[in-house]
Amino acid sequence: MSRRLTVGPFNRVEGDLEVTLDVVDGRVASAQVSSSLYRGFEPMLAGKHPLDALVIVPRICGICSVAQSAAAAAALGDAAGLGMPPNGRLAQNLILACENVADHLTHFYLFFMPDFARAAYRGRGWHAAVERRFKATCGDSLKEMLPARADFLRVLGYLAGKWPHSLALQPGGTTRALTPTEIVRLLGVLREFRAFLESTLFGDALENVNALAEPAALAAWAAGRQSDFARFLHIADDLGLAGMGRATDVFLSHGAYGAGDDHLFARGVFDGTRAAFDQLKVSEDVAHAWLLDSAPRHPSHGETRPLTGEFSEKADAYSWCKAPRYAGRVAETGALARQVVAGHPLLRALVAADGGNVQARVVARLLEIALVVPAMEKWVRALTPGESFCDQWQLPDAASGIGLVEAARGALGHWLRIERGKIVSYQIIAPTTWNFSPRDAAGVPGALEQALVGLPVGEAESAPLAVQHVVRSFDPCMVCTVH
């Protein structure tokens, strides 16, 4: 028996998503993932003053706002051949880390966990407690998490003026030099945030969480522990989330918190072994997008021209999203990819056992919080008041630049070209462009499209829960996807 199911609107993902499923004998046989909003940021940037990109690109996305700024600043810095002073680099790391960690928390508490509070899970032993704690918009956990998140975002109040949509990140550093007392206060903000994480999210010291190096140790650590992470692990075990949502097991990371080849989490590609990432191997294909046709192109030669007339002329198209490929292959990006590329032993082991999957993606996000907050404490202590936060620069009249950063949800790249002092080309590949890519010209489905195949769909299900778990496990940001 087969049927076609269209799932949308998809709540608790950032932006608009529609998933079409062909279901055969109670399993997903094939999936099409569609991004249904086109805003046209890339063409909008053409003709602008290069630094105007710093105003425009954060407004692509309210949840990856700083990541977009960081990528633009990096691309402009690359075009100008510019480095930044140590304080500027530390401040940019702190700003991006704050957004990424806040996003991980938002994803876990607001987007992902509420699905387990659904009535459909009422038969499970854990349901009543999980419903009380995680029910969408009114679970008890929100009364702790939202204030903790708001307090943590003070890091951005000090360093970036506000969040989202700051202009603090510049090609040469940041616009706000901290005073010695502000550094003291930042440490206080981080201390309080650490206390929330250790009491509520983990139920243990961050250092103990970071010491978990293998799946058996994780299971032993979680057994009987009262914390939100342990609650998730219990549910994941019960529902078999490790067996859901395997994509291509090609993991890609631009490298996070650093510059060039020197990052806290390394740059690279992992498909069983780690290889260097070469941006020249990236291409984008529009065979199934509502965009005017062109051959697959490297983003430095990319173009974005939307269909505006008869959409029926391109019957194979089903999304505004392009299809990025790495050396022709479909790749997955995100916290799991970042940690697998960086060599995190526990996540490497989880992936070795079951491939990329729902449980591993969530575990990676939470473990990354435990890794990044201590790094933030170190970066704050390394700031040197009185020394510069921002180098001056002269933008060349003609140049090109590339900015590669990691947003919470994965690899974000900006490719820009400047001629006669204006932007002439600006191309962006966002994390969810990778993960939620449509088919390419060869008909190869994108990462999510592959990850959905084989999932069970109940007779009465119109928005299958397994599908929802897999979709949300990528922490998609649809507004970035098409931009």
């Binding site: 407004r59 949840i63 003026g161 700051s166 940041t174």
Partner: protein
């Protein structure tokens, strides 16, 4: 038979939502149109002891649906929206976040509400007709915002404005059932409290047309200028100006700051507890104003004629401003002049003289 069953299911789902949502008196429906979701992210950062949902619920607002945070997806949600649009599910407040995309060629095809096959603009029109209050959350929704930058191929506009022009998607004459026009909480993004304060005022029945300014923004935050409470005030007084990013000096003369013209209380109502744009060391780009997205000059440069910024404080006679600026520049203390181009305050060497103060 199937149809009857589906209708029954729809009623059941609506009832279920009504019962299961966290209680309150004004029912709120939130849509995300063509935006970045940043206004919701900003709203989630509202500073209070138990989080913004608890704050709204305690103030009498029942969140029927919000695409970023509610449980429903797919059919259950489409049923809810269809019921609300048809009047079967009464609600009070419609908050829309994001611009209205009318393109290409008026079709709205650039933004289809996923799963529904219908353009978002059609949903907004239908739902706005049922709401007691319609609230535009953010500059995109109010005026078109960043979506309308460049050639505006998406034909982006706001709910009741298209940039500076009245009209927009709903038309100049639109009134919600309460009699109020669209309430424009402009800002890119909004400050969480602008939204919370507006919604809470609605629950008290304490919000009327007189509370809106000419651009239909709540006056409680637009009667002030970003300039009010600016931490760089002393630099402004003496026209001791920053020359490059991270300089402490006033950002108006060279760095593109529009704080003296932009209507918002950003420097008396801190962002993320302690910040604001100018506190962050970068210029105000007047994101609460229609058309901010196309200033006609690079955002971070001040346009000048004969060395004098053209964007002077809007309600001050120009000649007086120029005369005062010249005078105050020549009276600038060395401390202020030096600090203006430093990224941290330089040590003050002189001690105050003893005697009467």
């Amino acid at each position: 038979m199937l149809l009857h069953f589906l209708v029954f299911l729809g009623v059941l789902v609506s009832w279920w939502f009504a019962v299961r949502s966290c209680g309150g008196r004004l029912k709120l429906l939130w849509l995300q149109a063509s935006g970045c979701g940043g206004c919701t992210q900003s709203l989630l950062g509202a500073e209070n002891r138990s989080g913004v949902f608890e704050q709204l619920a305690a103030s009498g607002i029942e969140l029927l649906f919000h695409p970023g945070v509610s449980e429903a997806s797919g059919d259950e949600l489409l049923t809810l929206l269809a019921d609300a649009a048809a009047g079967r599910l009464p609600f009070d407040i419609l908050c829309v976040e994001g611009a209205m995309l009318r393109g290409p060629n008026g079709s709205g095809r650039f933004h289809i509400l996923s799963g529904s096959g219908l353009p978002m603009i059609a949903w907004v029109q239908r739902l706005a007709a049922r709401a007691r209050y319609v609230v535009a959350v953010g500059t995109c929704t109010a005026y078109g915002g960043i979506n309308a930058a460049g050639d505006n191929v998406t034909e982006a506009c706001g709910l009741q404005f298209d940039g500076n022009e009245r009209g927009g998607l709903l038309g100049e004459d639109f009134r919600a059932a309460s009699g109020l026009p669209v309430i424009n909480i402009a800002g890119c993004p909004i400050h969480a409290e602008w939204v919370v304060d507006t919604l809470c005022s609605l629950t008290l029945g304490a919000f009327g047309e007189n509370d809106l300014d000419a651009l239909q923004r709540p006056r409680f935050y637009t009667e002030q200028l970003v300039h009010h409470g600016c931490p760089k005030n002393e630099f402004y007084e003496f026209k001791a100006s920053a020359l490059k990013p991270s300089d402490l000096g006033c950002l108006m003369e060279n760095m593109g700051c529009k704080g003296t013209q932009a209507h918002a209380d950003c420097n008396t109502r801190p962002w993320n507890g302690v910040g604001s744009c100018v506190r962050g060391g970068f210029p105000c780009i007047s994101c609460t104003e229609p058309g901010f997205e196309e200033p006609g000059h690079p955002f971070m440069e001040t346009p000048k004629i004969a060395g004098i910024p053209i964007g002077l404080p809007s309600d001050m006679p120009k000649a007086w401003f120029v005369a005062l600026a010249a005078l105050s520049k020549s009276a600038t203390p060395k401390r202020v002049r030096d600090n203006a181009v430093s990224d941290h305050p330089l040590p003050v060497s002189s001690l105050r003289k003893p005697g009467k103060k």
